[in-house]
Amino acid sequence: MFGTKLQVSWLLIPVLLCGRTALAQPSGGDVAAALSGLREATFIEKEEVVERLSARGDPSVRPVLAALLEDRLFVRQSDQRVFIVKSADDRLTSLDLIDPVSLAGAGSATRDDLAKIGTNNRLRKRLRTLVARFDLSSEDAAVRLAAVAEISRALDAESLALLRTQSALERHAGVKEEIDIGLALAALDTGDSRARLDAIAALAHSLRPPVRNRLASLLERTENGVFAEPDGQVRAAAARAVRAIDRWRAVSRVVEMLFFGLSVGSVLVLVAVGLAVTFGVMGVINMAHGELMMLGAYTTYVMQLALPNHIAASILLAIPAAFLVSGLVGVVLERTIIRFLYGRPLETLLATFGVSLVLQQVVRSVFSANNRSVETPAWMSGTIQVNGALAITVNRLCIILFTLVVFAILQVVLKRTRLGLEIRAVSQNRAMAQAMGIRTNRVDAMTFGLGSGVAGIAGVALSQFTNVGPNLGQSYIISSFMVVVFGGVGSLWGTLVGGLSMGVVDQLLEPYAGAVLAKIFVLVALIVFIQRWPRGLFPQTGRAAESQA
């Protein structure tokens, strides 16, 4: 079924294009002759030449038209022959030539020997349409899509006929939708009432702003009180369509806001989840947590320096590397400083704050105080267009997925491994755990290392969308503490729910209050929340929790 359609489409287009002209068989000689006239021609004459060439429908003319459009069509002074130039970059002194008929390489020439064939706006516009018509039969759906958009911009009877044929043949849903919208918009201008009603029905599913505006314009009155659209039935249909579109656009906006909120919240979760381990499970207020993230971000930077040609690989390798670097620093911290301060959380705050200052200065001494830029791999940029009103940016999607993966791994480590079992045992009852033969000192070091390592991983993620500098950690430390306390100290799920909901609330408020006020509002709301429920969203219960209080 699809196979036949495919074949038909490839057969039909040249036939269709050729059928309208008397010259069914284009020949190389004609093309060359037509081109040679271009040098002396006026813009009007050039347009005639262009029309004549394209009317043959021979796809081999497309490169010539595209070259003329892109200012790459030159005349060689020595023999007055016309050539396409591979690239007309200003920095090149010698330009590579392509023969316009055979499209084979034809040596090169110096810039002095070549004269550009100029174009004007009108000619370029016409050229774009003509090139787009050729592109309509391209095998690449993206090229076809661009061609449809180009043709729809200036529709005449010819283009309409072309689009209609293509619509029947098109098998790519996105391109077909684009064609149908173009046709329907045209039908609104020209068709009878019946055709206009059909067009409105077709357009009611599109969420694009131009479509909505066009439909809304049907409902407007002109200055003397007459409706732009004479038929009442058509007006009613248009009004219904506009309402439906508005409803869907509103839904899309909410979805988009939720998505943005989730991505902002994911960052919060990611920076807080390591803290949920060190602070939540161990009761250590680690003010150097932010600096451990900073170390992770710098690890990413160093990995990129080491592998400058493999950005994607360097980021992927940076994840375990950052875990190791930050985790090791964490273990050293625990062994040398924090183990002397258990049970005195406020003093861990002071000591780790000192550590954070030292780490910042270390980074300043090694990498200088300037921000370093970390490149983002190509696959992380760009957007996914869900419908006319909703586009999802890939990097935001990546951060959400990454956070969920890190969270899941951490859950598995804490709930399904020997180490996790020991960590939970020590946090619940240290003396009993020790009596059962658990080496609590080792578990303490591993727990702190785990939390710090997760901070390092968060740093890798942060390096993708903030500046990597010595102050990177400071800007996140307060919000990460807020997330942990809000979620409930000692509860990883609390951190996840708390962070995500903080992000969503922040994004929902932002359009009304502005970015800064929204942040202030979230902070104040959190302060009030903690005063009402001091143990957070998911308070820990049981004897262990009570003895901590």
Binding site: I285, M287, I337, F340, L341, R344, P345, L346, E347, L349, L350, A351, F353, G354, V355, S356, L357, V358, Q360, Q361, R364, S365, Q474, I478, F481, M482, V485, V516, L517, K519, I520, L523, V524, L526, I527, V528, I530, Q531, R532, P534
Partner: protein, 390 residues
């Protein structure tokens, strides 16, 4: 407690007396060294040093305020810089109104930044700040009100320890973000600066600087004595009982939260006054003063000086800030290493701060750092046991 007995207590407190004496000497000597000793003499105290000492003393007041609640009540506020900054902003509003038509835009009423933002009239909350007495009232009222309301909600819900520290930090952060906004009407990013005079005295004149220094020293002494009085009173003893065993104090029938909230509010007022004295001396106030890092730094001064002594806190503030001035000028790279290492070492080995050094010396230790740390923990436990038995 009678006045005579309170005085006796202060007399007993030798270190406290030394501290007050140093302040007295400073208050008497600095005017002489600045005004009477000629500028050519090596003993002349320059305007630079006057401002610097004045600044240190303001920090010392802030440190005493923090020590009152942390050292004696176990309440670690990481938002005291916010009260300090609020006091500073109120004083700044008065000083801005004093500029009058001498501003860049020459508007007789509106401060420059309002003219710049095209504001037509003074916002309501700026009214009255052309009067010094009004500013003084607000300097006390704003930190007191904020601390009282905040403390009342927090202590009533039994938000304690780390949780309290974190929400005070959030409060301070929220205020910083708010003051960064231009629409707030407090000069946004740039804050207030370019002050001309206070009560008609030129702020750039040495005589005004000396007077401000003497007043600051006086306020520090008065603040110290007031805190001392609170600590030695019945309420103060209960405050320490709350620090050591809050539930027990509550079960004995005391309304724990009202003690905490009043002392917290007093501490905030003291911090606000410190800020108000700070602004005319350094000549600028901007939202970065609200930064939670400033609060942490102030807590560090107290820890380094020695908490629970009041004079130790003041000494810590002056010492750390002098070291900061010295190092940031002479060896800027070393400063953060030095400060960071100092925090770690003091927390590990000197839980009573530098003032605790005296006690440490008496028990000579020949063991390594680990044993030293264990000793430190033990002495801390001992200290809290002692105070429990008292």
């Amino acid at each position: 407690m009678s006045g005579a007995r309170r005085w006796a207590l202060i007399e007993q407190d030798r270190a406290g007396t030394v501290f007050l004496a140093v302040l007295a000497v400073l208050a008497i000597a600095s005017p002489i060294l600045n005004q009477l000793v000629p500028a050519s003499s090596p003993f002349h105290l320059s305007a630079y040093w006057l401002t610097l000492i004045g600044k240190y003393l303001c920090y010392a007041i802030l440190a005493v305020a923090i020590d009152l609640i942390w050292g004696f009540g176990g309440i670690l506020s990481l938002g005291h810089a916010a009260f300090f900054a609020l006091g500073g902003y109120v004083m700044g509003m008065y000083l801005m109104r004093q500029i009058g038509a001498r501003g860049v835009y020459g508007d007789p009423v509106l401060p420059d930044f309002m003219v710049f933002l095209n504001w037509q009239k003074l916002p309501w909350f700026w009214i009255g700040f052309n009067h010094f007495w009004f500013a003084l009232v607000v300097i006390v009222a704003v930190p007191a009100a904020l601390a009282w309301v905040f403390g009342w909600f927090a202590f009533r819900s039994r938000v304690t320890g780390v949780y309290f520290s974190i929400i005070t930090q959030a409060l301070s952060y929220a205020l910083m973000l708010a003051f960064f906004r231009n629409d707030m009407g407090f000069g946004g990013n740039n804050g207030f600066t370019d002050f001309k005079e206070i009560l008609g005295f030129d702020l750039h004149a040495d005589s005004t600087r000396v007077a401000l220094l003497v007043i600051t020293a006086g306020v520090l002494a008065a603040g110290y004595l007031a805190c001392r009085a609170i600590v030695d009173s019945r309420a103060g003893r209960l405050f320490r009982a709350i620090r050591d065993a809050e539930s027990r104090a509550r079960f004995l029938g005391y309304r724990v939260e009202s003690y905490k909230v009043w002392i917290f509010a007093f501490s905030a007022v003291l911090a606000g006054i410190a800020g108000a004295l700070y602004v005319p001396q350094v000549g600028i106030i901007n939202p970065s003063e609200f930064s939670p890092l400033n609060s942490i730094e102030a807590v560090i001064w107290v820890a380094i000086g020695g908490r629970g002594t009041l004079y130790g806190a003041a000494a810590g503030a002056v010492l750390v800030n002098y070291a900061k001035t010295y190092f940031t000028g002479a060896l800027p790279e070393v400063w953060l290493y030095a400060l960071g290492t100092l925090f770690v070492l003091v927390t590990l080995f000197l839980p009573r701060g530098l003032v605790g050094l005296g006690t440490l010396r008496r028990r000579t230790l020949d063991a390594g750092p680990a044993a030293l740390a264990i000793w430190a923990i033990r002495s801390e436990v001992g200290a809290s046991l002692e105070s429990k038995l008292k």
